[in-house]
Amino acid sequence: MSRVHKIFRKFYKIGLVLFLAIFLLFIFDEIQNLDIKRYLSEHYISEGVQETGAINLVTSVLYDYRGFDTLGEATVILTAAATLSFMTPIKKVKMLGTEFTIIIYQTIIIIIPFLVVLGMNLIFFGHISPGGGFVGGVILAMIPILVTINYGITFSENKLKPNHKSLLEGIGAIGFILLGLLGIFAGSNFLASGQANFGLGNPGELISAGLIPYLNLMIGIKVGAGLAAIFNSLIKEG
């Protein structure tokens, strides 16, 4: 009896999901037939470069038009880091089995400077080319992660203490908000960089696009420190 019941339940679940899928399929089919207006994005594409000074429109959307979202997601990372950090035990846990060959050890050591350069590049050229604070921050976070993998958690935390990480994270987040507040001091609204005319410069140059590079930097610091903290917490977990 219970087996029949089980099979029935399984089919019931599959049926549910299938129904949903088919339903959504029809909805998508219907949506495809509509003609769609895109005046907002057209405005961004035609005016965005002049208004924000950033060539990379995604960056200009992320840090200027919709900078508030970015603040929100930075907060999400901070929250995640905080969550993981209180869940970890105080005592140090041995790094799990990392017995790589010498080649990997050496490679990692060599790779680290390149990662620094790459991360910084991604951060600072975020408004000109693909990349930006998030990606660059993650690349920077790779460094402590690699150090941890290579030399174990004790060494890694000795070099870059957890406290410093949270300090960096806090500085990044506060910096982001303070940069945003510059807009208010300049007589405009919060997070205004394009509208407040912070030296938009010539689009395409490194020092251009107003506050965007600095915002990128702050997010980079924050994300890097946050993700490194998350990683270390996860390693120590349990």
């Binding site: 679940k13 549910l16 999901v17 129904f19 949903l20 339903f23």
Partner: protein
């Protein structure tokens, strides 16, 4: 002008200041007598309006009937407070004040909103009084509160129905929701089928709480019935049935206070009949009966209280102590017995006569006679145990002076009304136009009493027999069991499995989406 009800409510707050007994006495005395005096000088026709939310409310309105009811309420409030002031703790005294105050406010209100609020406040305060007063009354209090809450909520639903039908909250325009008003009032009146809360509550709580509760709970029901449901003739038969049921049940009891509470059901039957007739005479009779009933039933409960206080027991056999050792109490018992049986020259006679004169239909008249007969029968049982049975129980302690004061005070008023029935009429400017001391009336009034004496002597061995076992079936408890069972089944389904919960969620989504198709 200030409502006597608010005076009591304020008194409940002032009692926080009562650090020692002296202040407590002073505050209680000032509040109770003050309320009595204020009520005495109220002028009918006065009304007060306030704005609340979007409504115009009338928290205070005086007319003849409400003044009459208010008078007896404040009077018996004075007696009840002094009866219990020594025994009750401060917080319980506050609850008693709250209870009395809200019932007085109900009496003087002019609209359904305020009526509902103070109806509920009565219910809350009385329930908490029952719950906190003793360790043995927790379950009773639970039952009482739930039962009363059903009443309150059906009153509320009736208010809503009426409000949506008429668009007004006035007490005078009742068009819809009458069945729900009936349920609400029925529960307060302990109508047959809805009475289950009453005997168990009145017999379990400490005696002074019984005194306070018995004065107000059912009587406010009578008053509200007059306001909301007067003139529905069918209800007269219902009242008759309820009263006869009360008689049958009362005759089977062997506990004093259970007997008294079933007798309340019977007495309330008179008032239901009086109000249901709808004529001015009927209503006047009902309210005079209300006054008389409050007087003698309070005295009887006080007597029961004295017995409990002095002996610590409350079976009918223990009443024997009245005959010899407590003279004042015995006298009061006799007076109350005569009054409740409707013997001429006692106060019960006058109101019963008014109601009987107002009746037209022979069935009801015979029913009324039967009720009088039954009432005196059950109280003959009471008297038999009190005076004709030898007992050798000793007093544990003497009744307090305040108890005897309260008792004696009410007995004297009762005698006054009985000897001069026109006192009430003069007091309230209501003219009934009945000569109470007409021989024919007196004969028909005393007939049931005499018959009952004869029947009691003949059937004594059946009537005083102890019915320890009788079938007790409470439909409300069965309903509660079903509710608990359903809840248990539901809680089994919450078995902590995340996948099950997610399945519920997805099914909900499917149901939602399939509503689209």
């Amino acid at each position: 002008m200030i409502t006597p009800g608010f005076l009591y409510l304020a008194g409940a707050l002032f009692l926080f200041l009562a650090i020692n007994n002296k202040i407590k006495y002073i505050i209680s005395f000032l509040i109770t007598t003050g309320a009595l005096i204020i009520t005495f000088y109220l002028t009918p026709g006065y009304s007060l309006e306030i704005n609340f939310l979007n409504y115009t409310l009338i928290p205070f309105r005086v007319d003849d009937i409400s003044k009459l009811t208010g008078l007896i309420f404040t009077l018996s409030g004075l007696a009840a407070v002094f009866y219990s002031i020594n025994i009750s703790s401060r917080s319980n005294l506050q609850l008693i004040f709250l209870f009395i105050g809200s019932s007085l406010t109900v009496v003087f209100t002019g609209d359904l909103f305020i009526l509902y609020i103070f109806w509920e406040l009565m219910e809350i305060s009385s329930s908490f009084l029952i719950i906190t007063v003793s360790d043995l009354t927790k379950k009773t209090g639970y039952y009482f509160f739930l039962m009363q809450a059903v009443g309150g909520l059906s009153l509320l639903w009736g208010v809503f129905l009426n409000h949506s039908a008429t668009g007004s909250l006035s007490l005078n325009a009742i068009e819809a929701g009458i069945p729900f008003f009936m349920i609400a009032v029925g529960i307060k009146l302990a109508f047959i089928g809805l009475h289950t809360w009453m005997p168990q509550t009145y017999s379990k709580v400490p005696f002074y709480v019984t005194v306070v509760l018995s004065i107000y709970t059912t009587k406010v029901g009578v008053y509200v019935m007059y306001r909301l449901l007067s003139g529905i003739n069918i209800l007269a038969y219902a009242g008759l049935i309820s009263a006869l049921f009360g008689i049958v049940m009362a005759l089977r009891q062997n506990q004093v206070r259970k007997l008294l509470s079933y007798s309340i059901i019977t007495q309330v039957g008179y008032m239901i009949i009086g109000i249901s007739i709808g004529s001015a005479a009927g209503i006047t009779g009902a309210f005079f009966h209300l006054i008389n009933h409050i007087l003698y039933k309070t005295v009887l409960f006080m007597v029961a209280g004295v017995v409990i206080y002095t002996t610590g027991k409350e079976n009918l056999e223990d009443l024997g102590i009245l005959g010899s050792k407590l003279p004042i109490t015995s006298l009061a018992t006799l007076v109350a017995f005569m009054a409740i049986s409707g013997v001429p020259f006692f106060n019960g006679y006058m109101s019963k006569t008014i109601i009987k004169e107002a009746l037209q239909e022979p069935v009801l008249i015979w029913g009324l006679n039967l009720m009088s007969f039954g009432t005196s029968l059950m109280f003959l049982k009471f008297i038999y145990y009190a005076f004709f049975q030898n007992s050798n129980i000793n007093l544990n302690r003497k009744p307090t002076i305040s108890m005897q004061l309260g008792l004696g005070f009410l007995t004297i008023i009762m005698l006054l009304i009985g000897i001069n029935p026109f006192l009430l009429e003069n007091l309230t400017n209501i003219d009934v136009d009945i000569n109470y001391f007409d021989i024919k009336l007196m004969l028909s009034g005393i007939q049931p009493f005499l018959w009952s004496v004869i029947v009691f002597i003949l059937l004594k061995k059946y009537l005083v027999k102890e019915y320890r076992r009788f079938i007790y079936y409470d439909i409300y408890r069965e309903m509660a069991k079903i509710f608990v069972k359903i809840g248990y089944k539901l809680s089994i389904y919450h078995n902590g499995k995340l996948s099950k919960y997610l399945l519920w969620a997805t099914t909900t989504l499917i149901i939602l989406l399939s509503l689209l198709i």
